[in-house]
């Protein structure tokens, strides 16, 4: 392990060499930054991983059932398990997707499930990301480089090789491909995750493209070469959000999408990965209902726990939230990326009463959660001293012929000792995640 720490400078230099960067906009200007890497890996033991694996597979399978139900018969709403307000007034519910079933009926092909571990060793689910979860490429390339800089460490510890992510991803694309090439659709160079788009294209052999190079004709999707020759596209791993995908179906002003791609998808002529409309299932309000979904669709108890969550929408929960306000973290269901998160105890009394007013007038907009006492992970600070920091784990669950959990994940940490926010957009860093194979 000391080898890794000794070599941390080498690794960071190598990460820079290979362009492991993410884009960020500061004062309206695009800048590329290195994603700070910490050499001390998070280690997950074999047993623990197989427990996580079972829980994550179960959760993602239930979420896929839910999406298929919501855009189909809506039985879970009719049976009163989830109130209709949580579905049909959610931004993530996309009416054009109603009645459309994706190839092989898979909605969430790549699910990024965020977890944290508490001091008493329990794992809790923090949130589900079923739209375009990003981040797998970072631990992939970091591992590649660490194996070069400290090979002995990997000989001594049996660490499951995580560089198979590209194979898993290719399997997922091939599984739903309707005949034609696989492409990765990126908004372009100036997107925060462009490194990842180009790296995954290189490693999976898919073609990296932007909307400009594709066209829909007769409800088929094509990629056009410099001679104007067309090649059919059977699967689009799109890294742009639903609203921008098709200006003819969603946001009309979008210039990064492909006009009429939705018609090709609707007719089963191309797969879109992940399916449009998934936002209805990873809404923070819906999160509360996932354990109920697992019971409803699979007849099983949830293996992995949610963080204890309250819905102010329910009167009883509102009462609890108001009387325990200082002990809770309140999240705006419409926000992501660490924004819209408020710790009750951190508000001044003026702000608190304003916030409570807002909570009372728009109860559907918020969820409240108990603050989990995180199990901190050590990182190396600027002086190469080990210090504990908050960290989470984004597990990647891939649904192809079967649902598989990638034996690694993206561990993100907060560099600020007082912060719980680990997002890269807010200055967080990442670690490799080791799953031990014995």
């Amino acid at each position: 392990m000391d080898d890794l720490i000794k070599n941390s400078e080498t690794i960071n230099r190598l990460l820079a060499r290979y362009g492991v960067k993410f884009g960020i906009y500061k004062n309206g200007e695009f800048k590329e930054q290195l994603f700070p890497f910490d050499p001390i890996p998070r280690i997950i033991k074999k047993d623990e991983f197989s427990y996580l694996e079972r829980g994550l597979r179960q959760r993602v399978n239930a979420l896929n059932c839910f999406l298929s139900d919501i855009y189909g018969k809506k039985q879970i709403v009719r049976d009163g398990i989830i109130p209709e307000e949580f579905i049909f007034s959610a931004k993530g519910f996309l009416a054009p997707c109603d009645g459309v079933s994706p190839p092989k009926n898979i909605y969430s092909h790549i699910s990024g499930i965020d977890l944290v571990q508490s001091k008493n060793d329990n794992w809790y689910i923090l949130e589900d990301n079923l739209r375009v979860p990003s981040g797998a490429s970072y631990p992939m390339i970091a591992r590649e480089l660490q194996r070069r800089s400290a090979p002995d460490v990997f000989t001594d510890n049996s660490v499951a090789d995580n560089r198979n992510y590209a194979e898993l991803l290719k399997e997922v694309m091939d599984n739903v491909n309707t005949g034609g090439i696989n492409v990765i659709l990126s908004p372009g160079r100036y997107n925060a995750a462009f490194f990842e788009h180009s790296y995954l294209a290189e490693k999976t052999g898919a073609v990296l493209t932007t909307g400009k190079d594709m066209v829909c004709e007769n409800d088929n999707l094509y990629y056009i070469d410099y001679n104007g020759k067309k090649q059919r596209v059977g699967a689009v791993y799109r890294r742009i959000s639903d609203e921008y995908l098709d200006p003819m179906t969603f946001y009309e002003e979008s210039v990064i999408g492909i006009p009429h791609i939705f018609e090709a998808y609707k007719k089963g002529n191309t797969a879109i990965i992940n399916a449009p409309g998934n936002g209805v299932a990873d809404d923070k309000g819906i999160y509360y209902f996932v354990p109920k979904m697992i019971k409803y669709y699979l007849g099983e108890d949830a293996i992995l726990m949610n963080a204890p969550t309250y819905l102010p929408y329910y009167e009883e929960d509102m009462k609890y939230v108001l009387s325990n306000f200082d002990n809770l973290v309140i999240k705006d269901v419409a926000e992501a990326g660490g924004y819209g998160v408020v710790f009750g105890r951190s508000l001044t009394s003026d702000k608190k009463s304003d916030f409570i007013e807002m909570l009372k007038s728009q109860p559907r907009r918020f969820i409240a959660q108990e603050i989990i006492d995180f199990y901190d992970l050590d990182i190396l600070d600027e002086n190469n001293v080990r210090v504990p920091r908050k960290a989470d784990l984004r597990a990647f669950v891939l649904t192809g012929k079967t649902t598989k959990v990638w034996a690694s994940g993206l561990t993100r940490f907060s560099r600020n000792p007082d912060s719980f926010i680990v997002n890269s957009s807010q200055g967080g860093g990442f670690k490799d995640t080791w799953v031990l194979s014995r």
Partner: protein, 272 residues
């Protein structure tokens, strides 16, 4: 309540012209302006034409509207869609509720455009509904009251204005009337949808509302404070105006799109 015996035969012509300030190319479009058969109306002699060599297809959107969509490759500065036909209207005064595609649940939820704010919430409070009113009379009461607080004015609201801001302004067009009525119906937990169509004697397309009353969709026209009858031809419906854009376009070029509509609906004699 069946009004099956009053049938009007309406001849309709719908012209949509989009013009561009500069030449555009690689033009994709989609349009929702094709009337189709419902329980209320039977369409015959339907003729759809487009110009500029557009390659077109027709599909059903998720609200079961007929969507015309396609592409024009050659550069141009204008594009026209022309729809004409005969509509027999007033066959029924309502449309029976079917469970497909959404069920009614979807239409109960407020949308970005109909979500009430302070002024609509205050306005809603002044209504007194009796239990005995039932859904239909509740909807009727709402429609009858709107003209008291909202007036017609064609330059004051934007396209896709929210019902709350239009209501605060106190004036607007048929789209705003319909959105305000949708907000109030949904506040009463009545499933309601936005409808776009044509109307006898009107020179452009019109918007109104349908409310689900005891298993049937009834049409209410809050702009004219009138129940939808055999003078109306329906083209599309959705949760609010953003689900029913008459035309959408995406193209290369910096041209600004300007669109104009000409609608002509005339009554002709029912043969025999």
């Amino acid at each position: 309540m069946r009004g099956g015996d009053i049938i009007k035969r309406l001849k309709f012509n719908y012209d949509l012209t989009a013009t561009y300030s500069e030449e555009i190319s690689n033009h994709s479009f989609s349009a929702l302006c094709i009337p189709q058969d419902t329980q209320r109306q039977k369409i015959s002699e339907l003729n759809i034409s487009t110009d500029k060599g557009a390659v077109c297809q027709i599909t059903n959107d998720s609200f079961l509207n007929k969507k015309l969509y396609g592409k024009i490759k050659t550069p141009h500065t204008s594009f026209g869609i022309h729809i004409s036909g005969i509509a027999d209207t007033g066959i029924d005064i309502f449309e029976e509720y079917t469970d497909y595609p959404f069920g009614a649940i979807l239409y109960k939820a407020q949308t970005e455009l109909t979500r009430p704010g302070e002024s609509l919430t205050r306005y809603h409070k002044h209504f007194v509904f009796e239990k005995s009113d039932g859904v239909y009379n509740t909807a009727l009461k709402i429609m009858r009251d709107i003209p008291n607080v909202f007036s017609y004015n064609s330059g004051s609201t934007r396209i896709h204005e929210t019902s709350e801001s239009a209501f605060t302004l106190g004036k607007g067009v048929c789209q705003d009337y319909a959105h305000i009525m949708l907000s109030l119906l949904r506040m009463e937990h009545i499933p309601a949808r936005y409808v776009v169509g044509m109307m006898l004697g009107e020179g452009s397309s019109h918007a109104w509302v349908e409310a689900l009353c005891n298993g049937y969709w009834y049409g209410f026209d809050p702009t004219n404070n009138k129940l939808v009858n055999d003078e109306y031809i329906r083209m599309s419906c959705g949760r609010d105006s953003s689900d029913c854009p008459v035309i959408k376009g995406s193209f290369y070029g910096s041209g600004v799109q300007n669109q104009s509509e000409t609608v002509l609906v005339e009554e002709i004699n029912v043969k025999d």
